[in-house]
Structure formats: C-alpha cells, structure tokens
Assembly symmetry: C2
Homo-oligomer: 786 residues x 2
C-alpha cells in the first residue's frame, strides 16, 4: 500500500496546488462537501472533465434486481443503490464563445482548497482560452451545516487582460450520463436514467425540478436561485429555461479587464417517500427563501460558527507529524460531514462522497464512526441510532424470515431492508446487531441521555438481545454457544463461537437486562418478561469463550487455530486483496485474517482478556492478518498501543489516517472510507491516548518517539475535557461542566479546576510482532512526517 500526495500539508486546509487530470475522481471524493443530508462530489463547476459526477441525497436510492444463478431461501431479490440526483453544481462559462474547459487553452494556475474551519471548497483558476482571452475564475462552494436543505456557490469571473464577452450558464441537470456502474445489463437499465420528471418550473432567476425515481418511487426536488452582481456599466441579460431534465439560468455580459461578474447560486434539495409533489416543491422553495434571507455572507458566517463550535470540542492536535495532523482534522471534518444533519437517516460507508458500496451502510457506522461522534458530536450519534430504531420493523421481519426472534439488522442497506446478495454476510454476520447495541451502550455511557435510553435504547437492546437468545443454545454442559455465524473477519465465515460475536452478544444481553430493569414500563410495552431477562442473563453468564490452551491464545472461532496457516511466503504481492485471487472456501478454512476480529474484541471487550492474553493474542493475529480491509489498521493501532508496540501503533495510525489523502487502496475515487477516517481518531485517542470508557472514563496515553505532543478534546456527560500528552507527562483539564474523576494508567485523577499533570509510566514492550510477508504497515520516512 502506498500512495502519492496530491495535496499540500497544512494544519487546517487540504490544498491541491495544481490540477491532475488523472486524479480527478480521487480529488472529487476528497473535496466532497456534505452535511449528511446533501452530498456534492468535488466536481469542477463546469462539469467537465470529471471523474465521476455525483450529487446525492441521503436515502435517495433506486431499486435494482439482484440476480442469482442458484437462488436460495432468504436471498434478497432487490437491492438499493444510491443514485446521482439532480446536479445543481453546474456552472458553465463561455469566454468569447470558447467554453471554459481546462483540457483546452492554457491553464496557468489551478488551485483548490478544502477549508476545514470555514467548511468550504475554494477554487481559483487562471485560464487563457484557445482564442487568447485570459480570465480568472474563482468559486467558493458550501453545503450548509446550519441549513440542512441548502448548498451554495459563489462564482466569480474576471477578465485579466482585455475586455471579454462572458456567458455563464448555471444549471440543474437530472439523469446525467455516468460511467456504466455494472456489466449486468439489467442493473444498468435500472440505474441508467433513474429520474422521471414530475414538474419543472422557472421563476425569476431560479427554477424548481421535481422528479420521481422510477422503481423506488421517491420524490426528489431540487431548486436553484441566483443573485447576480456586475459592475454598473456592464450589460446583463439573464434568463431561465427548463426542459424535463435541465433547468438553465443564463447570464450574458461584457466585462473590461479587472471587472468581476459575481453570481451567487443557492441550491435547495428535498425528497420524500410519502409527501406530495406540491409539498416537496414548496419545501425546497422555502429553503431557498431562507437561504436568500441569510445571504451568502450569512451562510459563510453560520458555517464557520458551526465548525468553530465543533472544533472547540473535537480538535486533535498532533505535534511532530504535520501529515497526521492534517489527516486527523480532514478525517474529523468528513466524519462530521457524513453525519451532522443526517437526522435519522443512515451514515453510509462512504458518507455522501461517492457511489462506493452502492451507498450502503454497514456495521462500520456503529463500530467505527459512532464512537467518534459520540464524544465529539453526540447528537449526530443519537440520530444515527434513532435511524436504526426506525428500521426495526424491517429488522423484525428479517429475523422472522430467518427463523429468529427479535430483530436482525441488515448487513448492508439504505432503507433498512437487507441488500446483501452474499448469504454468509447477509444471513450470518449477526455481529452487526451487537455492534448496534454496543453503540447504544457507549452513547448512554457518554451522555447519560435518559430520554434516549427510554425511547430508543430499551427497544434496540431488547430486540437485539432477543435475537441473540434465539440464535444460540445451551450445550450439554450448560454453556451458551452461538454456532455457524460470520464474525468481523471476512476471511472466515460460518464458524462456531466466534469470540468477538460471543463477547459482544453477552454484553448486549446483559445491557438489555439492565435497561429493562431501569425502564419497566418501556420494557412491558415490548412484552419483556422476567423469565426472558433471566434467560438473557443466564446466556450472558454462560457464554462460551473458546481458548487454545496449547498455544495460549484465543482462537478467533472454535477450531480456528487447528486450521492450516495461509502460505504467505508463496503469495505474491499482486495477489492482495486475496479475495480477488483465491476462492472463499480456501480463505475460510485457513488461518488468514482480512481484518481485526479477535483483536477488535480485545479493544471493545477489554476486560474479558488479561494483559498477558492481549499480548499473546495480538502477536498471534498480527502474524496472520493481511489487512485487506480498510477497517483493520485503526484497530491494530489501538491494540498495538495497548500492548506496548507504540511505533507499530504509529504506523497503523498513519495508514488509517492517510487512507484517503494518500489513496492507499486506490479506490478513493469511489468515495472516502468513513470508517478508516474515523479510525484515525480512534487510533490517536483510543490508541495513543489509551481512552476506554464504560464503566468509567480511562486514559493510558503514551507517545511514539516521532511525536512531540498529542492533545485531544472530547465531551463526556455534559463536560468538555482536554487531554494532552508528551513524552513524559499527561495533562488533563476540565474545560466545562461539573467535576469528574478519570483514570490515568489505572490511577484516578480528579478533574475540577485547571489542568492536572500526571507522569506517563514507562512500558517495556514485548518482542516486536511480525506481519505476513509483505503485509507490514508502511513506515513513512522521517522526511515525510515533518
């Protein structure tokens, strides 16, 4: 894994100093703007050239058939795929009749900056047309974090040398041509032109278009309006026209050198599965009216204020590694963008930055993204879990279909229905249910949100506990077993007593019994009986946790350590990721791990393992983990740090953090890896910071040699806390809220007024573990770090 850095390293910006046409799609993902409701890929204003055009609305999808050569019971027949909706980013420019297109003429300068404090994407281009007219084009784009339905673009053109005739065409375009998404002709047919026009009207300097998705039947409305600002003496001719898939606002003018045409384009998006066409039409018009009232400068100011507040509670400072410093802020920014205003809609694996994974949400959300949000933007975490709750009807139906009680959440979904066509995932990766429960438990611990506990947590924990109880059974010795399930590691499947799954299920069962005890009314409404909670507790208490006495390690699942070890030495580098080069059955029956599984169990269920077991397990799994999943490095970083391999933790941290900025897996083009971005924060805070929660907030910070200082802020039960650590000293400070006791390397530290310092105890690291041949994390050269 390696990448090259297209972007300048700065603490608060991602700056692309020149345009690389071969990396357009990658930069479109990196420069994507989103508020969790609207997502705009970083396409050029003029639309072309592009890597992958993309305008998304959270949960707007089209249905597509899922074909099977051999069908089976419970296979989903139809899948959901995120679709490119009406593109409102388009602003085309003609310079004396030459279209502004960076592929022609001469591009003297092209810079784009993602500003992590302003929440904007800025662009400046100086371009000379083939006919010799030079213009400077500047644009600033935002997707509002304060006005959920609104995006806006400020677009400016200035002739540099001569008087020039300019025509600007600002558009809304539905059913854009896209690169073919699939070789399957039926899928392509379903997704090729997914929007059917319902209404298109122009008014003033704006337009509204309402479309309906052909199969899923969702109404999608997009509106635009414009404010045009030109020097008094210029001629302006503005007009709006619409056709079924295009609305166009045109401004024609003639400017002298140094004069600037400025157009502010306001965009509003809305959709509904239930409301009427007039309702969604009016909704976007209202959003435009509100945005007009706020004005461009007002939108910019609101955006910055929102982010100031966010960074005040969430910033992470990394002294000694500017790349990682930039990367973790980039990561937090995008994690925030994916969720800020999702408001009871899912957080997809790629956020709203690209079409990867069909726009589906997985366990990534609860296990990687929500831990970050829980401590930095808890309302967004609560909203994501309320979304899960809203899908309980589908999850109950799915559980019944699978012959189980309670609720079975989908492995991958947009609307709550299972979309996985691969049954070892779609019918057997039950751990997602415990992952949801774990996120609920973490959120409750971090916030003490009693309304949430009563309204959301009881139902989610009860229904998932019911699933686990019906899924497992007590064996002849009374031990509770969970057989034939797929754990986190996707290079194993359908195994008995996956340790991760069993430990997470036990916690789920215990927590369900606990919330039922605290909320008897809510539990009674769900029909929970005392026998039921007793059975949950008995299952949790007798949960099987397999252990290999001979090796002194926990097998990932029963029998795992008896399996043949993968022949890593005979595996050439270009055979990774293995799943593209070897059959599933062979991966499943050998000791080869795609992504942290038992190691993740040690992070999330820390107290189930002794320190010695953690060290042995870590070394054992480190040697067979190939990290073919972007979900793995952060977990390896966290546990490497815990067992004392700080330099290794640092390498994994960098890999998680740079996944997208450096395009380490060569697929950033399809969208950002939200879980890996979140993992950058986890690797720093849970890894180097040693943060664990439940039942109390603990830290065990330690730095690798390369770092001078790490500082992070987080929220916990109404408080704002900062933690800073250097080589020798950790400093804790309560920034706001009532006093709190936290743990520092196992010792209580009371936080009241002012900073509290504690020495960082030394650790003697065990012998360095090894990785499979060729699969050690990249160690960046010191030159790159500084």
């Amino acid at each position: 894994m390696n990448g090259d850095n297209l972007y300048d390293v700065e603490p608060w910006h991602v700056r692309e100093p020149r345009l690389d046409l071969d990396s357009l799609a990658r930069s479109e993902s990196v420069f994507a703007l989103s508020n969790g409701h609207i997502g705009l890929r970083g396409n050029l204003d003029e639309g072309e050239p592009h890597g992958l055009p993309g305008t998304y609305l959270n949960s707007v999808y089209e249905l597509r058939p899922l074909p099977y050569a051999e069908a089976g019971y419970g296979y989903p027949e139809s899948g959901q795929t995120v679709i490119d909706i009406t593109n409102g980013k388009l602003i085309r420019l003609l310079v004396d009749d030459e279209p502004f297109d960076v592929r022609y003429g001469r591009l003297e300068r092209h810079e784009r900056v993602l500003d992590l404090r302003a929440g904007t994407l800025e662009r400046e281009a100086v371009w000379t047309s083939p006919a010799g007219d030079k213009v400077c084009v500047r644009s600033t784009r935002l997707v509002s974090l304060t006005q959920r339905a609104v995006a806006a673009i400020c677009y400016e053109v200035t002739p540099v040398d001569d008087t020039v005739r300019l025509v600007v065409q600002s558009e809304l375009v539905a059913n854009e041509d896209l690169p073919a998404p699939s070789k399957d002709p039926r899928v392509a047919a379903a997704l090729g032109s997914p929007l059917a026009i319902e209404e298109h009207v122009a008014h003033g300097a704006g337009a509204v278009m309402v479309h309906r998705t052909r199969q899923s039947g969702l109404l999608v409305a997009a509106a635009m309006d414009h404010r045009v600002d030109v020097p008094g003496r210029a001629d302006v001719d503005a007009d709006v026209m619409t056709s079924p898939d295009v609305s166009r606002f045109t401004v024609a003018t003639r400017l002298e050198a140094g004069e600037t045409l400025r157009i502010v384009k306001l965009l509003a998006y809305g959709w509904s599965a239930h409301r009427s066409r007039p309702a969604v039409h009016d909704q976007v018009m209202a959003a435009i009216a509100a945005a007009n009232l706020t004005g461009w400068d007002g939108l910019l100011a609101e955006q910055r204020a929102y982010l100031d507040e966010f960074w005040d509670g969430a910033d992470v400072e990394v002294d000694g590694d500017p790349e990682v410093q930039q990367a973790v802020r980039f990561a937090l920014f995008h994690v925030l963008q994916s969720a800020a205003r999702a408001e009871q809609r899912p957080i997809p694996a790629k956020g709203l930055t690209g079409p990867g994974y069909d726009g589906h949400s997985f366990w990534d959300t609860e296990t990687f993204v929500l831990p970050v949000l829980t401590y930095t933007q808890p309302r967004a975490a609560a909203d994501a879990l309320r979304w899960r709750q809203s899908t309980l009807p589908a999850a109950r139906t799915r559980a019944a279909q699978l012959g189980l009680a309670g609720a079975a959440f989908p492995w991958r979904t947009i609307n709550g229905d299972e979309c996985s066509a691969y049954w070892p995932a779609g019918t057997a990766a039950f751990h997602i249910n415990a992952d949801v429960a774990d996120a609920v438990i973490r959120y409750l611990d971090a916030t003490g949100d009693e309304d949430f506990e009563r309204e959301v947590a009881v139902e989610l924990l009860v229904e998932s506990a019911r699933l686990w109880h019906s899924l497992g059974h007590h064996d002849a010795n009374g031990a509770f077993r969970i057989d034939g399930v797929t754990g986190p590691d996707e290079y194993s499947a359908i195994a008995d007593n996956n340790v991760y799954t069993n430990l997470m299920a036990a916690e789920n069962l215990k927590s369900a019994a606990a919330v039922v005890g605290r909320h008897p009314d809510a539990a009674a409404a769900l029909g929970v009986t005392q026998e039921e909670t007793e059975a949950w507790c008995r299952a949790a208490e007798t949960m099987t946790v397999v252990y290999d006495e001979r090796l002194g390690v926990h097998p990932q699942s029963e029998g795992f350590t008896e399996h043949d070890r993968w022949d890593f030495e005979a595996t050439p580098p270009d055979h990774y990721p293995l799943l593209l080069h070897v059959p599933y059955f062979d991966l499943y029956r050998k000791q080869v791990v795609k992504q942290a599984d038992l190691v993740l169990a040690m992070q999330l269920r820390s107290s189930a393992f002794t320190p010695e077991q953690k060290a042995r397990n870590f070394a054992y799994y480190e040697a067979i983990t190939v990290r073919d999943s972007s979900l793995s490095a952060c977990t390896q970083a966290v546990m490497a740090a815990e067992v004392g391999h700080l330099e290794l933790a640092y390498d994994y941290l960098a890999e998680a953090a740079l996944m997208d900025l450096d395009d380490l897996e060569h697929n950033t083009r399809d969208g950002l890896h939200m879980a890996s971005l979140a993992g950058a924060w986890l690797a720093l805070v849970a890894g180097l910071g040693g943060m664990r929660a439940c039942p109390s907030l603990c830290f065990a910070p330690r730095l690798p040699q390369a770092l001078d200082r790490l500082a992070f802020r987080l929220g916990y039960r109404g408080r704002r806390i900062s933690v800073a650590v250097t080589d020798s000293v950790a400093t804790y400070e309560l920034l706001s809220g009532p006093p709190l006791t936290v743990m520092h390397h196992g010792e209580p530290v009371e936080l009241r007024d002012g900073p509290v310092e504690r020495p960082v105890p030394p650790i003697s690291a065990p012998p360095a573990p090894t990785q499979p041949a060729g699969r050690a994390p990249a160690r960046r050269s010191p030159a790159r770090r500084r």
Copy 2:
C-alpha cells in the same frame, strides 16, 4: 411423501391403462426411452398435448450466463444446460381432416406399456373423431441398445367402422416451443431457440437436418426415413418437404374399415463439437442405412436379445412384494438405459429422461449408479469412468484455479467444466473426487480389468490423491486434517474433518499409492515420485476421524454434535424440503441432516466402524435425518439392514424403489431420479443381501417379514453368480466362470458346481430408532404389497 400409482403392477411391464392428462409430464419421464446416447421422453406420437417435450442427445448442451449479484473469485461465469434437440418422434394424424388429438373427440381406450424385456414403449388408442370417425392407432417405439445412433417407431392406423381418409405427417422439428425454463430473461434468451440451421435436405422418404447450437457451437444432425405399408388397393401419396426447423414426410391414403396403414419411421442422431457438417450429415445417413438393413423386426429382435443377456446377469426377483418386484426391474431398466451406450459421455442425474438439474451429472453417478452397473453391466461403468478421465484437463485447470494440486472434478457438469453457481458446493464439495476414486476401486475389484487399471485408474487415482494431499494438512500432532469442506449432507457445509470425506480421501490416497506401485511406468509418466506416494500414505494413515466420546458416536464433522438440534417438533410438514423454507446458515449450524453422510460412510468404509459404533451412529443420525434428498433412502436402507432393523430397511427400500413410479417427490415430471432407482438395487442387494466387496465378496442376507424370497444375479471377475435368500436359507450358485469363495455372514463359502445352501443366522435387532417428527418412511399397507 406419498404418491398414487398410475400404472398397473406387473412383473415385467409398466402399464398405463388410461391416459391421465394431469400426469402427462410424469408419464413422459417414466416412459422415456434411451440408450445413454439418445433420449426420447414418452411424449405422445402426435406431440400434443404434452407435459414437457423432450429429445436429448448426451452432452449436447447450450451455454447460458450465470448471473451473480455479488460475484466472487472462481465462480463459473457460464453454465451448461441440456437442450431439447430436433424432435423426431412426431407423427401427426389427420382423420378426415380432424387432427387426432386426445383432448377432442372421444378416447375410448388408451393404453401404454413400457416393456422391460422388449425394450419398447407400446401404445394403443381407440379414438373417435369429433366428426364420428373411429380409428385404432398403435405405435411401438424403441431407442436401439444395439445401434447407438438409431431410434425407430412403428406407427399403425386402422379405421374401425367406416372408410376413412387418413393423412399422416411424420416430422423432424427443431426449436420446439417449450415451457419457459427460467424467469431470468437472459437465460430464456439463451435457451429459447438454441438451434441454428446449417443444412436441411430431403431425399426419398427421408430428410436430414443439421443445426448448430448458437453459443456452445455443437453440430447436431437428425435424419429420418420411412417405410410405408398399406393394402394394395389404397391410394398413397408420399412427399417430403423441409424448412429451416421442420422436415415433413406426408402420407395420404384412404382405408376401409379394418385396413391398416403402417409406417416404420427410422431416426438417426449424431453430434460433434469437432467434426464437419458433411461428416455428421453422413454419419446419420449411414446409421439410417444400417437400420434399414436391419429392418424393424430386426431392430426389435436385437433389442430383446440385448435385454435378455442383461437380465440374465442382472435380474432381481422379489417374491412377496409385486410393487417392489416391478419397481426394481423398472429401476434396472432405466439405469441401463441411462448408461448402456453413453460411451465416454456422462450419466446425468436424470439420465436422458428430462431436463431436471439442467442435464448435469453429479457424484450420484459414481456413488449410486456405477455400483449397480459395475456388477450388472461393467462395460458401461468403465465407459462412465473413462468419461471422467476425459475431463481431467478441465479438472486440473479447476484445481489450479482453486489453488490446489491434481484434479478437482466439478460438482455439476455436462462437458467437464464446473457449472455450480453455489460456492459451498461448487468449490467445497470435494468428496466427489473420492467418490470417483471409489468407483474406480470398486470397478477394478469387480472386474480385474488390467487395461483399465493401467490406462484409466492410475491417472484418476493419482490426480485425485494429489488433490487430497494439497487440500489437507498435518496438524501440530501430526494428524492429517481436511478443513472447511462440504460433505454429502447438503444441510451442512464448510465444516472441518467431515468423517465421510476423510475416510474416502484416505482410501483414495492409499489406493493411489497401491496402483502406482503396480504401474510404475504409468505413474512415472504422471511424474509421481516416491516422496509423493509416501506422503499420500502418511496422510492416509494419520487421517483424522473425529469421535464424540461423550455420546459414543461419530460427529458428521468436527463439532457437529455440539450444535443445536433442529426443532423438528416445531417444523410443520409443509416446511419440507427445508431448504425452500429456511436459510442455509441456519441449516448448516444445526443438527439436521438432509441425506445420509456419516451413514453413507458406514456403508462405503464399513471396516472403519465397529458393529457397536454402527448401531449407535445409525440410531443417532436416524433421529436427525429428514431425507430431503432422494439420495438418502437407499443408504438408510442398507445400514438399517446391517444393524438389524430389517423392517425399517424394507420401508426405505420401498421409498427408493417407488420414488418415480409413485412420484414421491412430485418432480418425476422433470426426469427420473437415476440415483434413487439405482438405490432400489442397492437397498435390495447391499441392504437385504448384505453384499459388500473389497477385498472379497461378502453377503449377509436377511429378509424382512413381508418378503418370501429375494434372488439376485451379478457378475464378479468374469463369473456370473446368483444369490437367493428366504426367511431361513441362503442359496449361492456359480452360474458361469471359475470357482470362487464368497463370505456368508462372515463364513467362507466356496462356489464351484451347483447351488450351496447356508442357514441365515438370527439377529437380535437393537431398539427401533426414531425419525424426526413426521419424517419416518411411509409403511405401505399389506394390501399394497401384494
């Protein structure tokens, strides 16, 4: 499971005394004629009404795309499907311009008889047209067992009351309209009209048509010729015309009451993937010429002589149960038909009797069909194994694709390439390789065929042994393990150390080493080294055979007996077969068995189990086996008999034997269950007869109360032997060949001249086992048996 009997019970015939239009497709399968090369379903001569028209040529298939919603490495992209080729059975009749169609007019009498000694399907219909003209129509159809490319029909029409004008149209029709094979539009497109015309010519009273399959590119030639015989005074007008998909020979005449028009239609079929159009054209014309030379009566005589010889060496007599008597002869007849002239082509699971399972061959052939053929028609068994050998190039490629050495035979195929789109079968059901080896070993033992050993057995055993050695590994204690494979029971998958697989693999490894020792030159040509054979022997000797000490039974696979038991009591009868009502993952992780797996291991690897283990294992698995596969009953019969449950063995025997005659699984319409038909013989001979072979021929006959006598004949190393058993006495006789010692209930019996009698020792049966609720085999009423 229950059916109703459409057919009269007679020892040597299957007689359908009246036509049941609702059961047309079922009878088409039952009345199918085949010689293993050509297959003609028992469609009515006039083509309509039909259940499922069907004319097949062994190994003539079309390719179709195999779609995947989520593709994976090693999934086959294209499948093979048997196609309905040029239909030559069609003989339409017009009676004074009214088409003879049993749905109209009045059908006074309609009888069809499958004659198991003559090898013919006879039909007699007396029909009055809507206009009141009564005719008697008689036809006799055969697919020649002596002339491989030839089928023939003798068609006779006789006016009963009045003078009638008759027109007979005898046709060859390609691309018949068929019921849609799939909902997938791409599959339907591929299979809808698979034959493209290459040549169509008429000559004399005949015609030849050559087509090419559109995707698979196979040339298919069909020819017909006619002999017309009418009373001298009748006018005859005969003519042949052809169009791209139809050749038609028309005879028009006028007959008085009692006069008979007789048409003998000769058909010849050929195909090739390599030869030219003129070559296949000439091939079928030559076959027609040969058939003309033999003539209709000659074909009939040859057919009967062939079958007389077959029955002389293969007949099974069952006194006391006419239904089973008929069924076992019906079974032997169809097993013979499926294989007699297949000649290095596969024996499909449905023979050439219908399109079920896409015309694919599975392990059914080697494990169920070949044991019957080995002792009754050994040349056909050898040919089937030579077919397997001919597919070794594809099997080697597949093994390499799966990362393994040697050869991996396909789970399902026509041409040798894997067609299974379900990876737990298509990439993990490796036992098929040991099943092929087992059939090779059995054939060698039964025949002592040294040419076969050198030419075929060495290569098949070596390449399969190589597969096993690369598939397993020695664990820390030196034991050889085979992890993550799918055994015979399709309600488990991807499990470690499947006992059946491991025991069969061990035998394969040992036998490979043995033949290598006997044929060093042949082995050297395959590059076999001494280290290699030593490694095979070491793997075989240290093969893991898991055993549950607590329960005193063998788990089907490692951990199986720890799994939750399926809740049979809560499973309603209409939830069987379970695979249509519950997800795979749930079947796989629970103790529920679709078909004999460990129980089959006890039959095929008898010496690996003590009698006490056999009894305990049988009882254990009997209680969890739901028999959702037609491959199970015969094995349960064999082992029930061995452990002493003779009445239960008898029930299972009847189920296997009546599978198709009684349509027990309601899918006989798609073709006959060749393995279950073969299983009828196995249940009688290996079950009640207690026959085992290797290293010596053993019998342990015992009868259930209902039977008076069982007698069977078989061939063994150049001898023909008969075994007869009554309640108290077994009689062995050497019918031809040199003296031989066989075992009777463990005691040697020398067979030399004349019959030898031995008493049948009593057995004290263990307590009767139980079956899952509702899944006990049907016990036929005594009235039905007699």
